[in-house]
Subunit: 274 residues, 3 copies
């Protein structure tokens, strides 16, 4: 796919406007630590969250959802069954879904599950460098949710994984790296406070599902994922400028997502092809 | 039951004072997305939350609890067993309980469970128009937690359901409609920001359980439910006036619930028989 | 063990500096109501949370974690299996772990589990007076998470329990009492708003795991636990001074934990041997 003619910051602003207009329904099968924050991030942004994650409901719901997030942070047995059901159903009917392989590589149950889920062709795989390297088949992962590898060191694994899934792979870090296996985008926005709030990374997976759901299967999902990261991390900068610590940052971040306007977004966006 | 002599806003203020004095113990079997917010809403109000939701504990605890909330938002298998146990135990010993049939009608597992639980005569059934219509036996529900039907369109179903359960039915919306099958109350308070915070509706179910627990079984549970809605939605207005977005609104809402005084409540209350 | 030469407030400030430097990895198997707040408290403090609580992962992870928290607030069957696995693994490899026996004594499933877990020699048992008395083998517990017994009344049970486990026992209340069975510390800091936020007590268990992990097995774990309580409750005082209710208090508490400096800590600390 060739690069779009428009600047990625302008594309991001357009995507945000479309998201607020469409209010996509995002089904989240995510870890118990961050369900609340994830739902609130989606609501603040203008999307509609639905945490449908039990067997017999997760599959049917993935057919009516606009997008699906599968996050492996606390994968209890019943939720694992629902995740396989949802991913299979999403793949079968064309609902784009995002895989966040939290701590894959260092923990056995979720590592096996991630392998199984990859067969359902996630539209996006999102993780830190260690997780992406582990999912791609190299390395031995980090310690829990920490990252021990560098974003740029994960670039080859990310590109290989993207070519293998046919989707986008996003590596989070101080500068985020996104690739579809051919093209690469880097986003240099964000704030360290995002790492001091639990779910700061996990909720971004749900936001990616929301943005990617606005693009047809043959559309530019890399640009849509870049829009998700740009909107999310620029809102973090706005919130960080007003915060007095991680508590007020998390609150202000929700306000900033809800209030983010086109001028602020395009002025601050540090997103580029590279 | 006839209408009480007192104005509903005055009754609401009296009920809030009694709640703060009694600090009722509210057992919540609710969805994983909103447990934290629900507990904090109860604590801010002056009630005592207890999220006892496993088999062998949920039933015994429902006998010592003042009131019980059963919310079907993320009904995992073990919690479903605990819900049946708690509702059965509550019904058996006279503990009032509230059913919140989240997304019933559109999702199969919880729809079957809601049918089963209705046999235990909930003191209150609380939902949006689509959910109430689905529980009452009509329509096909909404898409997840959204409402696709209008509050007033649900009025006949709500009244029929209330006559069938012998309890109160509350339909949430811009103007909330409450009925015991004979009498009807409308509450026109609240703010749209309440729909931008996850659990904004779910936590109200717990607050209803707290208020209804203060009234004997042959008391006026419709007036008690109206007090719950009035206190909750007036606090939302107070918080909205100070908020800069959904994040600061949720924080300010807890402060407003804790700080709400009689003068503000009666001045703002838009609750009436109709 | 004899008393350290240094004042406990000075020791607490030193422990906080070491914690921020080491960023210990704290595995939390805790109740679903407070996972988010607990993780955010650890992040604000400078520790690294990881909520690994499923069988086959919880045991292996306890070997690489710096410390482990096992909190019995909502002990679902799968989590109970993971708790036994984690506590056994921690005991086997010397990872210090904290037991928070929420509502033990009044609820049957968790009471049996607490008995079983005590065999794995928790470095700290933390609870309110009723819970500590119940775990120690006396009394009949409180109603849910409430306390019905007085802190000082629990002192003999706490000391007996500490001698039996070989660890520290912490009894929470207006003045916290900590003992290793021989020596006793009292901490008179804190604010009533901490009881109006769900997880106000539960998160302290995770903070204790973080502080105790910095001390070797033959080090002074009572002083480390006292540092945890002192840092936590002084931060609560700082937050309470700026709060307008329980919502803003919880937010400000996270900011205060992140921003707490040595001068404020030592000036406010009301911690002493007694």
């Amino acid at each position: 796919m060739t690069r779009p003619a428009e600047d990625l910051s302008v594309l991001s602003a357009g995507a945000l406007a479309r998201l607020r207009d469409a209010s996509p329904l995002v089904q989240c099968l995510t870890n118990g630590v961050v369900t609340n924050f994830t739902a609130n991030v989606l609501l603040a942004l203008g999307a509609t969250p639905a945490m449908v994650d039990i067997p017999q409901e997760a599959g049917p719901f993935a057919k009516v959802a606009s997008g699906v997030l599968v996050n492996l942070g606390t994968p209890h047995a019943e939720q694992r069954a629902a995740m396989a059901e949802a991913a299979g159903s999403a793949a079968g009917c064309g609902t784009p879904w995002v895989l966040d392989p939290v701590a894959v590589g260092s923990l056995p149950v979720r590592t096996a599950l991630a392998r199984e889920l990859l067969a359902f062709a996630p539209a996006v795989v999102r993780g830190n460098a260690s997780e992406i390297i582990a999912v791609a088949g190299d390395g031995s992962g980090g310690r829990g949710v920490d990252t021990t590898d560098d974003v740029e060191a994960a670039a080859p694994a990310a590109a290989a994984l993207a070519r293998s899934t046919g989707g986008v792979v996003a590596v989070s870090g101080p500068v985020d790296l996104l690739t579809d296996g051919v093209r690469t985008v880097r986003v240099a926005n964000g704030d360290a406070l995002l790492t001091r709030v639990t779910g700061g990374g996990c909720a971004l997976g749900a936001v990616m599902a929301a943005f990617v759901s606005l693009v047809p299967a043959d559309g530019d999902r890399l640009a849509a994922t870049a829009a998700a990261v740009t909107v999310y991390t620029v809102a973090a900068e706005v919130a960080a400028a007003r915060a007095t610590g991680p508590g007020s940052f998390a609150v202000g971040f929700l306000d900033a997502l809800a209030g983010l306007d086109e001028a602020t977004l395009t002025a601050r966006a540090a997103v580029s092809w590279a």
